[in-house]
């Protein structure tokens, strides 16, 4: 009786379990199939065969939910994605929606169709979706044809993020891409050295500001289309197929073995056991130079260096703007309290983070803005700058706690040269416009672009040009650079602060007692902006003649090309 009872209970139990499992299986299978129900014949039969139930199964496995976004009418988007932020995984997924999406001709649907076909049909099993995703992202960013936007895999991202702490991997060089229209009409994207960081192998090997890197370890840096360059030569060879084919083969080889710009930058930024052999073109030097650089040891760059010069003048040099720069700068200033004057050396400072620059500016004058950034925006105030609808955002550091204002008594001079770029250019302009600092040196580099690093959930990231900065007095200086009041033929480098013309000039100015008060400038003049924008030559002469007080922006002789 007992056993029978137990058996009876077992049976009930078993049936219950069976029912639950059946329902579970049904639910599970149904869930899968809902996303997979693609059997409705498409207008191309081969596609119908290809995007079948199996392929559909991939769709649900890697995508959480359908998001109705304005850009993708019915895109499948991950709720954890940084910018989609729509539907969570518990929102209802209609099979019809998915079906409509996957059968549609929208761009996102086309992308997913190709992805599923590759997974399904490619002759070798594709195990890594990471490879596919990164290939897609990198190519999309490259298509923007913006040399300063690039995709980074996890290692590159880590390396770039470490730069905020002053740790530079690879050869320790800051590069940016210049776009130059060549005389033959070809758009050349030159991988240009902004600065070699102090102590880095780039500096030891003698890589200099303005050097153009044309080859890395034998791989040509793909800066322009070789076929466009050789088009005329090739046309001449058309009647001679043998030579023509040989020429085309050579160009193809050059191209297929070359490094795209993003790959070239990554090669410089990442530590590697093998040394890098660079071929660089140095403006003014006829023959290209071959440099051999050690890329195995990262270099820790000291953001701020300071000491008191022999005659009692305070000296502060900023190598790169990192997380600690603002604090280091302030502590340097307090140590130099009582100096007769201050020399702020921004030579060979390629920039770095923007917020420390804002922070430093605030310690001098907490009431004003650092400058402006022009963003692409479909909202807010729209100004048309270079054809892009933009929103102007004042550059103030709203989030940081209020900083103690510095009360540095005495004249301030700022040293700049061709390697002074980005945040350093902004800070020099601010100190001139607001504090009346004297600017000494040569034309600055002219990098006003602002990049934002957008992380992706798998650890990779992409840097995107999201704006262009203007100085506090609304001067645009991208590609043109800023011109100092006191131009020197050879402004020297930050690496050798004790004996150079720039320091001597700065000491002279400080000694002359040109106080900040005396040099105070009428800031923000729309007049100057207009002049600067429209007629640089006129600006130059009129400003020179008027007073050597205006911080001009001028076309740096070696630089040409379009905006950003």
């Amino acid at each position: 009786v007992e056993a029978g009872k137990i058996t009876g209970q077992l049976k009930v139990f078993a049936y219950t379990i069976a029912a639950i499992i059946f329902l579970g299986g049904s639910f599970y299978g149904g869930q899968r199939l809902r996303l997979a129900s693609l059997q409705r014949p498409l207008h191309q039969s081969r596609l119908a065969q290809s995007i079948n139930i199996r392929a559909g199964a991939y769709a649900i496995s890697q995508t959480g939910a359908i998001a109705a976004s304005p850009i993708f009418p019915a895109a499948i988007a991950d709720s954890s994605g940084p910018s989609t932020g729509v539907a969570g995984s518990d929102s209802a997924i209609g099979s019809e929606q998915i079906e409509d999406f996957l059968n549609s001709d929208s761009p996102a649907a086309t992308f997913q169709q190709v992805y599923m076909l590759l997974k399904e049909q490619y002759v070798d099993r594709i195990d890594s979706d990471v490879l596919l995703a990164h290939g897609a992202a990198a190519s999309l960013i490259t298509a923007l044809d913006d040399p300063n936007s690039r995709f980074m895999d996890r290692a590159e991202r880590v390396a770039v993020e470490a730069q905020a702490d002053g740790l530079f991997q690879g050869i320790g060089v800051a590069v940016m891409v210049r776009r130059v229209q060549r005389p033959d009409g070809i758009l050349d994207r030159q991988l240009t050295v902004v600065d070699s960081l102090p102590g880095s192998s780039a500096q030891k090997a003698g890589l200099r500001t303005g050097d153009i890197i044309t080859s890395i370890n034998g791989h040509w840096v793909l800066s322009y289309d070789p076929f466009a360059e050789k088009a005329n030569d090739l046309k001449k060879l058309e009647d001679d197929p043998y030579s023509f084919n040989k020429a085309v083969d050579a160009l193809e080889k050059q191209e297929t073995q070359g490094y795209a710009l993003d790959k070239a930058q990554a090669a410089l930024d990442v530590t590697s056991a093998t040394p890098l052999i660079l071929i660089v073109h140095r403006p003014g030097t006829a023959l290209p130079l071959t440099l051999n650089l050690d890329a195995s040891v990262p270099v820790q760059v000291q953001s701020v260096e300071s000491h008191r010069l022999a005659n009692g003048t305070g000296y502060v040099g900023i190598n790169v703007f990192t997380k600690t720069t603002a604090a280091d700068f302030r502590s340097s200033l307090s140590q130099l309290d009582g100096s007769k004057g201050l020399i702020l050396d921004l030579r060979d400072c390629s920039g770095g983070m923007l917020s420390p620059g804002i922070d430093i500016a605030k310690s001098f004058d907490p009431t004003t803005k650092f400058g402006s950034i022009y963003l692409r925006s479909d909202r807010g105030s729209k100004t048309v700058v270079d054809g892009v609808p933009t929103e102007v955002k004042p550059l103030k550091d709203g989030d940081s706690p209020s900083v103690a204002p510095v009360n540095f008594k005495g004249p301030i001079t700022v040293l700049v040269n061709q390697g002074t770029a980005n945040t350093a250019e902004m800070l020099a302009a601010f100190l001139h416009d607001r504090i009346g600092a004297s600017i000494i040196g040569s034309n600055t580099f002219g990098d006003a672009t602002a990049q934002t690093l957008f992380p992706l959930s798998d650890g990779s990231a992409f840097a995107l040009t999201t704006g262009v900065m203007r100085t506090d007095s609304d001067l645009a200086f991208n590609t043109r650079g800023l011109m100092p009041q006191y131009a020197l033929a050879d402004p020297g480098h930050a690496a050798d602060p004790d004996s150079d013309a720039c320091i001597a000039k700065a000491e002279e100015i400080i000694a002359m007692g040109r106080s900040a008060k005396a040099a105070s400038v009428s800031p923000k003049s729309s007049h100057s902006t207009k002049l600067a924008m429209n007629d640089i030559n006129h600006t130059l002469s009129s400003f020179r003649a008027a007073a050597e007080l205006k911080f001009l922006h001028a076309r740096a002789a070696q630089l040409s090309g379009g905006h950003q």
């Binding site: 379990i17 069976a18 499992i21 299986g25 049904s26 599970y28 299978g29 899968r32 809902r34 129900s37 059997q39 207008h43 191309q44 079948n52 139930i53 199996r54 991939y58 890697q62 850009i71 988007a77 954890s80 994605g81 910018s83 989609t84 001709d105 761009p107 996102a108 649907a109 086309t110 992308f111 190709v114 992805y115 076909l117 590759l118 490619y122 002759v123 979706d129 596919l132 995703a133 990164h134 290939g135 897609a136 992202a137 190519s139 999309l140 960013i141 298509a143 044809d145 995709f151 197929p241 043998y242 022009y374 963003l375 692409r376 479909d378 054809g387 892009v388 672009t449 798998d458 704006g467």
Partner: protein, 469 residues
Amino acid sequence: MNRPSKTIQSKSHVATIFGQGVVFLVLMAVVFIGGFSYTDIQYGVRHPEYLSLTLQQIPERLRLSLHDVAVADSDTQSSPLDVYASVLETVQSEFYGSLPSVPKTDSSPAIDSDHFLTYSAIRGMMGSLGDRYTRFLDPRDYSDMEDDEQGQFVGIGAQLDENKKNQIYIVKPLPNSPAIKAHVMAGDIILKVDDKAVLGMDITRVVSMIRGNPHTPVTLTVARQGAANPIKIQIIRDFVHQEVVVWKMIDTQHKIGYIALFQFNEESDPQIDHALTELQKQGMKALVFDLRGNPGGLLNVAQDVASRFVDNGPIVWEKERGGELHSLDVEIKQHNHPHYPVAVLVNGGSASAAEITSGAIKDDKAGVLIGETTFGKGLVQTVIPLPDHSAVAITTAHYYTPLKHDINHIGILPDIPVSLTADDEKNINQYAQSHPDDTVDLMYDSQLKKAVSNLVSRQAAGEHPEGWD
């Protein structure tokens, strides 16, 4: 007494419970799979045409679903779609700069920035596989490719070129073309297309202006030597067949015919059939089949063409991922001409379908391969159209010659290697320029000369055309 029996009883009870347990588990599994595929089967019942497909998919779906669970547990990757969507949306809202797009041209519609960026992303995704044959074809690429595969397009059927003064001129009107019917002549310089001056324009632009819909008129204004004034010619556009074959009786003494095939498309086999018929009428006894520089084309056309030379058996073996080898065999219906002694010319430019054809002829000993090692492309692509009129070409299979040789990156070695030197190529090129109407070059083309001498000696040894088994 009780004990043993009880023991036995309890043993049997254990066995029963154990047995029931097994049955239970099996049932549960069946129930789970039943539940899992309930919707599939339901769907299959409603759509009988998909029932067998649906049932076949069940094991694979189960496997994938379980695999997904495993993958999800160690989740570190996001799907390519997620990454693409994030990047695209960020770019659209944040990028400072104009988004790239392609403006409309005469021959192709505009590509907006959404599509431009998406197509770039797709190209990048496909490019990451490192297989140059797996590629994306945007709507324009795809329509060009379709024209190429069909071997016909809509136009006037005249070959155009640009002369040294950058004028576009008619090289020659094709036989039976609308151009020849409208009395367009070789050497005519095109001044205007539909009253729009074209001097100085790029040749591809002029071609796209001349092309259009079938049975629509296009008016050319041409300058003709000897004519005082420009001549206006109205031509009705129509389907034009691409010439993919040239043929000639090159040795009238030994009755050696010559057929060169430039490409494997829908026009190839009919044109070879025609050439064989014409050469047969002239009493052909042996054939030179020239596949040099032939980049390939459609697989089924290679099967058709090779079947003309091979007796029976497989033409090629195909193998998809995880699949078995399966063969494409000789099509007997292609044996509508005698079986001629054949010399096949190949070189490094003979690829893909040309290698399938020459590989089948070599392995079957149906002919002698003369020339240089072939390109070495042992992969098959499937072109799959997408709803937005673009398409993808995906490498879906490896192929092997009838003797199951993998030729990928290796190529096919000719039976009789004959290489052309740089001097040979220069001479051949010069000869071609000074003799533009000659189909073949028996002066400097040492590969062709070797083929002829090979066929002559085989003829002397008693090899003659014969019927098929």
